[in-house]
């Protein structure tokens, strides 16, 4: 059963939002729009009001942004198409991943290079486990979690330090069924 959009295929959206422009060119932090990524399982999608903090001034008359203004005018939310869709029996929590040093890039790729958002990975269970089995090798210092640029690989010593800091749960726990399924 294939999802509506294959991996690496741009997903159509009501507004052609470019992560490349906002992240790559403007240097916006992920958390400016995805406000709950550190606090909640759901990273959060920006409310119309958040978009309008800038776009009430910038590119105000662009026809591309008409749906945004219509949303505010009519008090009707924008309906974005989900790009990363996990099965309903999988419970993924953004907050614990970013708090334990798993960078956005690990799963979402270089969004700063994506004019239109696409799903980088197939999101099958094997792929999740690929990381959960060797979680200690996939962490970054907290300061680099939201960075997009390719970064140098960490040395064994640095990884060891981070693992002591994060108190990562052991591989058995991280590969238990009950970690993601309930």
């Amino acid at each position: 059963m294939a999802p509506a959009y294959a991996a690496q295929e741009p997903v159509s959206q009501p507004i052609r939002f470019s992560h490349k422009h906002h992240v790559g060119d403007d240097g916006l932090d992920c958390r400016y729009c995805h406000t709950s990524v550190e606090k909640s399982s759901f990273a959060g999608m920006p409310s119309t009001q958040i978009c309008l903090t800038c776009h009430s001034q910038l590119f105000r008359d662009s026809p591309e942004l008409a749906p945004l203004h219509a949303s505010m005018r009519t008090d009707t939310p924008i309906r974005w198409n989900r790009v990363y869709d996990l099965p309903d029996f999988v419970y993924f929590d953004h907050s614990i991943h970013v708090n334990k040093g798993v960078a956005c890039m690990e799963c979402h790729g270089r969004v700063d290079q994506m004019p239109l958002m696409l799903r980088k990975e197939a999101l099958d269970m094997q792929w999740c486990l690929g990381c959960h089995r060797i979680a200690p090798q996939h962490v970054r210092p907290l300061a680099q979690v939201f960075r997009m640029q390719d970064q140098r690989p960490l040395s064994d010593q640095e990884l060891g330090q981070l693992n002591r800091l994060y108190h990562l749960q052991d591989t058995r726990r991280l590969t238990d069924c009950s970690t993601c399924h309930r």
């Binding site: 959060g44 009001q49 008090d75 974005w80 198409n81 029996f89 749960q169 069924c177 399924h181 309930r182």
Partner: protein
């Protein structure tokens, strides 16, 4: 409350397909194979994310928000926290700060969330049988208001249930001032009229009684279901259990005597219990009153005819005299006002008032006799004196006394208005029906059993355009203030002391309790002892009827709630029906067995007849028949219509006063009853282990010391190793009262579907935690069997038989000891269920979860998978709650503390019978509970090594009554 734009859930399947036919209808029209072929090859639907336009301040999407509010049942408040997930209320928790809750709730509060989302709720204004609008109604009302202003409301009558809301009381008082000839009537079929009459007899003024069970060493309940039927029951159960733990070797800090008609939760919990018909109970209690020297009670009264009554008289009197100021007598249900006034006098004589009992001014706004009130109203209606009748959240066409002819009289009222949550029997007979907003959709206020006031705040905007009673009454008087929020604020701006109203208001909302609003003790002055009821008070009827509230539908207001209909009734384990309860000897003498359909006639009125199945309960008094109310509804909704027998048909004014003699005829027919537990004996096994306090003192290890109870030491399976947490549960049978709150809390938390009567008959109910009842006898003591309750969730066995037989590894042990069920692996062989000795696994034989109706999707807990057909499921120890707590702790870089993970069954339990925690933490509460000599494992001889264990029960019976 701000307007909420949308419920942010969207599903592309809702989109309309080509050819003008939507997808859902299309699928329904197609044959199953064709539907599979067309839908099966497609991938999952494209989901959408719908963010806010303006996100509320402090909102964290994906995290629940809790609103402190109150669940109002029969007028009285139980403080609750409404859990809301992105704007959808999904679960009710008790409010730890509220005196009637202390964090727990009863079954009705748990099920109220399903009522909120019930698609059968009234969704529109009706004028007669035609759809109408609020605007049309307001126009019609305008003309009425002009008439009322002219004649002072001479033909206007208001009918409400029990009202404790200060705002509604103020509003109705203002209405009566504006229209001085109008009248306010009250009708609640379960209103305790005798208590009001008793207070007048004893104190000369209306009063209510608050019990302090934590201070009572001896409690005598006279046909009073302390733990099941009172506005303070949740708190009373808590206080009783707390007192129980505080002395008597930690298990028997008090002694409870119950003399009652039918088995109740209180009677099951009692240390010594006697079942008698109501007249006999009254005789017994008057003799006890004489023995303890209650002034004005003659010593020459005739005692009860029961063989044990003189022993009981002596024992009760002895216990009371030995515990002056530390005892408590409470009478309820069917007792006459005189006897209940006598109980006030007895408590005063014993010095209990002010210690174990507080007398307070009435909490309800109009402490009047409801039967008299509705009788007067019906007479006026029949006489044509009532021109306008406004009925606020009442259903008199269904539940008014049967001989009043209320429905017919209602037809003669030109302007009758019914405001109700459902377009029920009354809504269909009234000239106007208006949809009432649910308590979780509107602003209101209410008071608890002890007078404590709470603000009822909404957690969601009205789903169906309903309005509250406050908003309707504001229309009636043409109030300048129309909104519920403003009306409630106006009341409290008037009542609240202190200059800073905003701080007061914010605190009241945040805490769910208005500070210092508990009622002060009433100065009662001199007491009057009533004259004893004449011996012929209840004539020696061959069969007396007692009408009782139903543990699942109340008095009928929850009839359309599938969770409650399918909740096994505590003593019968019956679902989806009501039955006439009779004693064993009565059944024998009339040749009746459980399930026989009988025809009941009132002696006085032979045209009132009712066909109802009987249920033989050995603990029921003889010569009495208990008739649960709340069934046989005709306009409850799709769930409740036609379920059970309408016992209101026999409940005349006299019957509501406790005087009803019945004639019973066998019909020769049988009624199929769907029960979840077929027999109540333990077949010689030690499933529930119990001893008396004396036996326990002699041998504290009675629960585990006999050879056949010992746990085998060795196992063929390798030991597991647990590095971090090791979860476990302990259930204290000394605290469990069998109220079923755990079952229904679990149902709400874990998206457990209901299956209906047919499927229950096949044994396919889905409850993850059930409460078993057994009838047991103490070893070598006593004649009477007692009921014991045992909640049974998954045991999460260390050597789990289910895990060994699953061919696909869908049930496995996790690193913290949970026995987890992986739905996406399960292929439905049911081997696990067959191999489970505790029978706690539940299989989705059919598609039980309703994925069709939008509002049933909305009530689901987003943190738990909704299971499909063909999948096994069972208790997970509330894995989602463990995960949530663990993630929050991990983010702070610390380990979980004891008490941070609270399962749904544990949270709702009023007596704290369920303890959950980490077995690797030597100081955890669960480890302390398991260290007790009473701790034992169910079916330990099978070497399953359950992580859920039980504390054996210790009773404290009066030795003189053994």
């Amino acid at each position: 409350m701000k307007k909420q734009t949308v419920i942010p859930i969207a599903d592309a399947r809702d989109d309309t397909a080509e050819d003008g036919i939507d997808r859902r209808s299309f699928l329904k029209l197609m044959a199953a194979s064709a539907a599979l072929a067309s839908a099966g090859c497609k991938g999952p639907p494209q989901e959408q994310i719908v963010p806010y336009v303006r996100m509320p301040e402090m909102m964290v999407p994906g995290k629940p928000v809790y609103y402190a509010s109150a669940f109002v049942h029969r007028g009285f408040a139980q403080g609750v926290l409404i859990e809301s997930n992105t704007g959808r209320p999904t679960k009710i928790e008790g409010n730890p700060l509220h005196p009637a809750s202390l964090g727990a709730t009863d079954v009705f509060a748990q099920a109220s969330i399903l009522q909120l989302w019930d698609p059968d709720r009234s969704q529109a204004v009706y004028r007669g049988q035609a759809l109408s609008t609020w605007e049309t109604f307001e126009t019609a009302l305008q003309a009425q208001r002009e008439t009322w202003s002219k004649d002072g409301g001479a033909g206007l009558r208001i009918l409400t249930g029990t009202i404790t809301s200060p705002t509604l009381a103020d509003q109705l008082a203002a209405l009566l001032q504006r229209y001085p000839n109008a009248r306010w009537h009250c009708h609640d079929p379960l209103h305790d009229d005798a208590a009001i009459a008793a207070a007048h007899l004893a104190f000369g003024k209306p009063a209510e009684t608050v019990l302090h069970l934590d201070k009572a060493a001896v409690v005598i309940a006279i046909d009073a279901d302390l733990f099941g039927a009172l506005p303070g029951s949740v708190r009373y159960a808590h206080d009783f259990a707390q007192r129980r733990r505080s002395g008597g070797d930690g298990v028997a800090g008090n002694r409870l005597y119950a003399v009652e008609i039918r088995p109740t939760l209180c009677g099951a919990r009692a240390d010594s219990r006697l079942a008698l018909p109501p007249a006999e109970i009254e005789r017994l209690i008057w003799r006890v009153a004489a023995r303890i020297g209650t002034p004005g009670v003659p010593a020459s009264l005739t005692g009860a005819a029961h063989a044990d009554s003189s022993r009981w008289e002596a024992a009760l009197a002895r216990a009371l005299i030995a515990h002056r100021g530390e005892s408590l007598i409470v009478a309820g249900g069917s007792m006459s006002p005189a006897t209940r006034a006598l109980v006030h006098a007895m408590n005063a004589t014993l010095g209990n008032v002010g210690k174990t009992i507080t007398i307070i001014a009435p909490v309800e706004a109009t402490p009047i006799d409801h039967v008299e009130s509705i009788t007067n109203l019906a007479a006026e209606m029949a006489a044509g004196k009532v021109k306008s009748l406004v009925m606020l959240d009442v259903n008199p066409v269904y539940d008014a006394p049967a001989d009043l002819g209320f429905a017919k009289a209602l037809g003669g009222v030109p302007f009758s208005v019914h405001l109700g949550l459902y377009r029920d029997e009354t809504g269909r007979h009234a000239a106007w029906h208006l949809p009432l907003s649910h308590a979780y959709e509107h602003w209101s206020d209410a008071r608890a059993y002890d007078g404590t006031a709470s603000i009822v705040q909404p957690a969601i905007a009205p789903l169906y355009g309903g309005r509250s009673a406050h908003e309707l009454v504001a229309l009636l008087v043409n109030d300048d203030t129309r909104g519920g929020h403003a009306l409630v604020r106006r009341t409290w701006a008037r009542h609240a002391a202190g200059p800073d109203f905003e701080t007061f208001w914010t605190d009241a909302l945040r805490q769910g309790v208005i500070a210092d609003s508990v009622s002060a003790a009433l100065a009662i002055g001199s007491m009057h002892t009533p004259s004893p009821p004449s011996p012929t008070h209840v004539a020696a009827a061959p069969l007396a009827a007692v009408f009782v509230p139903d543990p699942a539908t109340g008095a009928g207001e929850f009839a359309n709630n599938a969770w409650l209909q399918e909740l096994p009734r505590p003593f019968t384990k019956l679902t989806w029906d009501n039955v006439a309860l009779i004693g064993a000897a009565t059944a024998r003498s009339r040749g009746l067995a459980t399930g026989d359909l009988v025809r009941l006639n009132l002696d006085a009125m032979s045209d009132h007849a009712l066909d109802i199945p009987v249920w033989v309960l050995p603990q029921h008094a003889e010569g009495v028949i208990s008739l649960p109310l709340g069934y046989g509804r005709t306009a409850a909704g799709r769930v409740g219509n036609g379920v059970g027998a309408d016992t209101y048909a026999l409940r005349t004014v006299a019957a509501a006063r406790g005087r009803a003699a019945l004639q019973l005829h066998k019909t020769g027919k049988q009624h199929v009853l769907a029960t979840t537990q077929q027999h109540t004996t333990m077949e010689g096994r030690d499933i529930v282990r119990l001893a008396t306090l004396a036996q326990y003192r002699e041998n504290p290890h009675f629960a585990t010391d006999a050879p056949k109870k010992r746990v085998p030491k060795d196992s063929l399976y390798p030991e597991w190793e647990y590095k971090d947490y090791k979860w476990g549960m302990a259930i204290d049978l000394n605290a469990c009262i069998g109220c079923n709150a755990c079952t229904i809390a679990c149902q709400a938390e874990n998206n457990i579907p209901t299956v209906g009567k047919e499927e229950v008959l096949r044994g396919r109910e889905m409850h993850w935690i059930r409460v078993d009842r057994y009838e047991v006898q103490h070893r070598g003591a006593g004649r009477a069997a007692r009921s014991v309750f045992q909640p049974v969730p998954c045991m999460h066995c260390e050597t789990a038989p289910c895990e060994e037989v699953c061919p696909v590894g869908a049930t496995v042990h996790d690193s913290e000891g949970l026995n987890v069920q992986v739905y996406n692996r399960c292929v439905g062989t049911r081997f696990c269920s067959n191999n489970c000795p505790y029978k706690v696994r539940r299989f989705n034989f059919l598609q039980y979860s309703n994925n069709e109706v939008e509002s049933f999707k909305a009530v689901q807990n987003p943190e738990v998978t909704v299971r499909r057909r063909g999948v096994m499921e069972k208790c997970t120890y509330c894995l989602q709650r463990i995960t949530r707590a663990r993630i929050e702790a991990e983010k702070l870089g610390r380990t979980l503390q004891d008490g941070e993970v609270v399962t749904a069954c544990q949270a709702v339990c009023s007596t704290e019978a369920i303890v959950f925690g980490d077995l690797n933490n030597p100081n955890s509460k669960v480890n302390r509970a398991k260290a007790s000599p009473l701790d034992y494992a169910l079916l330990a001889e099978l070497n399953t090594r359950p992580r859920t264990t039980y504390a054996a029960m210790v009773t404290n019976p009066d030795p003189a009554l053994e």
